[in-house]
């Protein structure tokens, strides 16, 4: 019998998230974002959050909902377009923004979860991203020191999960979710399908349950598409 991680809903999962905490939120654009927990954070009206997330949502969906209510103090992201309120808060100085190369962001989360405090990467060398960072030459090429990221809470979204917290993601909704799941002091997983332990094939688990402290079945996923691109048949 595996350890049971199930909680009732987003409200119970997020109940001890407090003002001024640091959160990691999975997703790439609006793909694979924890919609239920974001809604609950809006309801709770927690303030002063530092949010580590590849993107910042759009004006009326995803993290844009928290920005509208001015709940976010600082964003740590790689790309933050598509959001007018974000732009306004950033230009007015209300919102602090730390832009990080996407691969460095992913690896900093992975390192945080894997117990590696820092690593050297060539990404950003010679640019303003390297300002103030240690440089070392390996194999004749300069690299910069990037430090691991962790969070008070990591909030991830998966396709299927079991009561033991094992997770399987669907298609490109995987993105940052697995690394962030590793890097939270407490990791909350919301899933589309929650099944009893033993029902997921252990060979195909993406995130082992050890990284997940709370899991619940999410409701009413909107799964909004940012850029609907199609071709016509025939």
């Amino acid at each position: 019998m595996a350890i049971n991680k199930v909680v009732a809903n987003a409200k119970e999962a997020t109940k001890d998230i407090k003002d001024n905490m640091t959160l990691m939120l999975g997703g790439f654009g609006l793909c694979g974002i924890p919609e239920n927990c974001i809604s609950e954070l809006v309801n709770m009206n927690v303030k002063g959050l530092t949010c580590i997330s590849n993107n910042a949502g759009v004006d009326d969906f995803g993290l844009g909902l928290l920005l509208q209510k001015k709940q976010i103090k600082k964003m740590v992201s790689s790309y933050v377009g598509e959001n007018d309120e974000f732009e306004r808060q950033m230009l007015s100085g209300e919102l602090e923004v730390d832009l990080i190369p996407q691969g460095s962001l992913a690896e900093r989360c992975r390192a945080g979860g894997a117990g590696i405090p820092a690593f050297y990467t060539p990404a950003g060398y010679g640019t303003e991203v390297a300002d103030g960072k240690e440089v070392r030459v390996y194999n004749g090429k300069p690299h910069i020191l990037e430090e691991a990221l962790t969070a008070d809470f990591a909030i991830v979204k998966a396709w299927k999960g079991d009561t033991a917290g094992n997770l399987i993601y669907k298609a490109t909704a995987r993105n940052f979710n697995p690394m962030m799941a590793m890097a939270g002091k407490i990791t909350i997983a919301e899933v589309e399908e929650l099944v009893p332990e033993g029902e997921l094939d252990p060979n195909f688990i993406h995130t082992p349950g050890i990284f997940v402290q709370r899991i619940f079945k999410g409701e009413n996923y909107e799964k909004r598409i940012e850029q609907r691109t199609v071709r016509q048949k025939g």
Partner: protein, 219 residues
Amino acid sequence: MALDKTGIAKRIAQELRDGWYVNLGIGIPTLVANFVNKDITVEFQSENGILGMGPFPFDGEEDADMINAGKQTVTLQPGASIFDSATSFAMIRGQHVQLTVLGAMEVAQNGDIANWKIPGMMVKGMGGAMDLVASAKNIIVAMMHTNKKGESKLLKACSLPLTGVGCVTKVVTNLAVLDIKDGAFHLVERAPGVSVEEIQAATEGTLIIPDHVPEMKLD
């Protein structure tokens, strides 16, 4: 006649080789996928976690969980794989991807590239561009030769904040194909009907012109 964006994409498609994994950036680079020689097999990598990216889905078959790095709905080719962002950038940083094609605002004759930030304008972020240019062995920039004001984008030194240093090896513009080596742009081909003089006039950086500059062959 200077090339249009499609023409630039067609010319870059000629650089692809059988068995390569290729990352295409947003804009003109995305169009390259439409002109791959039927006799070769390449797989397209999208940095949000796809190897073997296919075309857009048919109307009605789009899936919100299946997007590319431009957040567009896409499909998978047979033999495709899906992975997380850390694995994706391991492929990129670890030089397992043979070619990166991306757009730029400025390229310098030493291979520096600027494509993410204009001082005084809203900064959206570098996304994966800094990781891509810092690691790829083979980087082709696809862009117009001059900006909207008619000023050269091929410069002695970049004026905008850099994305990467000394990394670009080839530039394909609406006017020419140029290699970057030894601190200069080397003219390789002209767009059909475009003269060497026109290219020289549109290039601020040092341009090395060989005795014979062939015209590009498209189609």
